[in-house]
């Protein structure tokens, strides 16, 4: 697989585009289809493609599994943290209206933050599961 020239070249062209598309889906979820969950899956698909073409060790150097473990927990923790912040600012749990002086802007900010955390958590968990499965196939 590592010597397959066509696959290597095509994936080298495709992977940046896939990552760019993942970012678009992440930050354009307010206006079009998509959001954190889809963006996380697409971003992890880009790294999975990289791992399939260039080898698992190379991919694990790009995104170390130890970092993924931290990121997965941080994503969930910060999501719950948004709720705690909104309690401390005088609202209900996960009520984003109090995050900013203007309730609409606060909602917008809250949704953006929450989607970002969903994206981080989903990306790291999906990639972690893939690395774990693929890592077991190693001799």
């Amino acid at each position: 697989m590592t010597h397959n020239l066509i696959l290597r070249i095509i994936s080298k062209i495709l992977i940046p585009l896939i990552i760019l598309f993942a970012l678009y889906v992440q930050f354009h979820g307010d206006f079009g289809p998509g959001g954190g969950f889809q963006a996380g899956v697409i971003l992890s698909a880009a790294i999975i493609l990289y791992a399939m073409i260039f080898g698992l060790e190379t991919a694990e150097r790009v995104v170390p599994p130890s970092l993924l473990r931290v990121l997965a927990s941080v994503g969930v923790l910060l999501y719950a943290g948004v709720g705690v912040v909104s309690i401390m600012m005088g609202g209900n749990y996960l009520d984003y209206s109090v995050l900013s002086a203007d309730p609409v802007a606060g909602q917008h900010l809250g949704v953006l933050l929450v989607e970002l955390r969903v994206g981080i958590a989903v990306f790291s968990v999906m990639l972690l599961i893939f690395f774990t499965f693929a890592g077991r196939a190693r001799p």
């Binding site: 959001g35 889809q38 077991r136």
Partner: protein, 191 residues
């Protein structure tokens, strides 16, 4: 009219794929067909204007889960499903026909597709649709429902994903290191 043709075509392909999956014994081909099944479902969701769901189905169902099944196949040695013991087909056939007719009977009470009088469209949906932009300024109501109105549900979903990752790590994450420390034990496992 064009919707009907696309729906019928996609559903026919879905049925063909499902029957092929049930009849095949080669697990690699079955995995590929599962990916096709997910893509066809995504197509159906798009026809029903559920683009967010279609997006997720295409990315997770056709993309990541196919890869994970292939990774699992790479770990297993036997790539053919065991041929089942042949039973007489009448008993299962009767059960399938009965269940199928019960389900078809159930669809008679389902409101027509897109009907405004459907219970789903008369409960909280109109409120979300009318309040999303004044409340949050977000055009895509799916996003505002998912992240804001039902943010607590989504927190639960993310926790489920996180728990799945932890479960995989606990079940098969640590074996590689112990296998490296005791090579004899690893060999006896393979034998």
């Amino acid at each position: 009219m064009i919707d009907v043709i696309i729906n019928v075509t996609l559903l026919a392909f879905l049925a063909v794929t499902a029957v092929a999956i049930a009849r095949m014994r080669d697990l690699f081909a079955i995995t590929m067909l599962f990916g096709m099944f997910s893509f066809l479902s995504a197509g159906l969701f798009i026809v029903m204007d559920a683009v967010d769901v279609a997006f997720t189905e295409a990315a997770v169902g056709a993309g990541v889960s196919t890869t994970l099944m292939l990774a699992t196949l790479a770990l297993t040695k036997d790539h053919d499903e065991k041929t089942p013991v042949v039973h007489r087909p009448w008993y299962p056939l009767v059960i399938v026909i009965l269940t199928g007719s019960a389900l078809v009977y159930g669809t008679w009470d389902i409101p027509a597709f897109g009907s405004g009088a459907a219970p789903a469209h008369t409960h909280v949906a109109p409120e979300y649709l009318s309040r999303s932009i004044p409340d949050t300024g977000i055009q895509n109501v799916v996003t505002s429902v998912l992240a804001s109105y039902r943010g607590f549900d989504t927190l639960g979903e993310v926790t489920v994903v996180f728990t799945a990752g932890i479960a995989v790590l606990i079940l098969i994450g640590g074996r590689r290191r112990s296998g490296r420390q005791n090579p004899e034990e690893g060999e006896s496992h393979d034998a």
